[in-house]
Symmetry: C2
């Protein structure tokens, strides 16, 4: 399978998992959404369409989003994500979406030393995590994926109480 085909499947999986959360998994009544890896801002745009009225805080190393998908300044956190996202521990976020895989196994292995813990600590009980990398953490219970998504292409968890 070409990398283009694989990419289309990954982005489709991302959309399908987010929509599945919206349609079938009620989020905690309060708490922000954290978008870890703003990038071009396309997923930020999808999240604000699917979860209107919910605060969405976006993290990235540097700002690179399309002007139409720029979060308000107070909801944009720039800098090394491993450092900035830590400051959201205990904030009882309702949903975390993280798509910061690089396609390099060695780089992603480093990300996976800190990402699962940061996600688990930011989420409130019953909060949902959607991720392009697996989040292996005792506090995160894997949930079934929608039927359209291949196992190992995208990941879905609920924060244990």
């Amino acid at each position: 399978m070409s990398r283009l085909e694989s990419f289309i499947r990954r982005m489709s999986a991302q959309r399908d998992v987010i929509d599945h959360v919206r349609e079938t998994l009620p989020l905690p009544a309060t708490g922000a959404i954290l978008e870890i890896g703003l990038g071009n801002g396309r997923t930020f745009d999808h999240l604000r369409e699917k979860f209107p009225g919910r605060r969405i805080v976006a993290f990235d190393r540097a700002f690179g989003a399309h002007a139409s998908s720029a979060p308000p300044a107070e909801d944009l956190v720039l800098g090394e994500i491993a450092e900035t996202a830590k400051t959201f521990a205990g904030t009882e976020a309702a949903l975390v979406h993280a798509d910061i895989g690089t396609g390099y196994e060695d780089k992603d292995a480093i990300t996976l030393t800190w990402l699962p813990g940061i996600v688990a600590q930011a989420l409130g009980a019953g909060g949902i995590a959607v991720s392009g990398l697996p989040l292996d953490h005792a506090a995160l219970e894997p949930l079934p994926l929608p039927a359209s998504v291949d196992r190992d292409r995208y990941f879905l968890y609920r924060r244990r109480p």
Copy 2:
């Protein structure tokens, strides 16, 4: 429609049009493929899978591809594409793929002042152009899109003799 959804449809259209060319539109027997806008290299990877044995020359302002999708040095042309691609005029390319839209109308309008002419001049007679932006040029005959692709999401042309 969110920008994520629109992006998935655009990338799917890109793949579908390239595959449609591969399956139904014989390319001239000789001539290179030009990939205008290498980016991450995902489409370069798709093109080399679909057109094995064909030289693929990739253009970009700066190198930003994944290591697994890096063209050999002799097939990578870095610098302002408006300048570098001009040097391929008259080389009778078999296929040009260009996906260098930015999502900003004013920037894309500037690209469209030079891109159609450069594509028309690089292609040999009967060569094919696949583009994310419309290529309005007397030498480029619009061809029907595959049924899966919405009009105005991707564009397909044949160089007139």
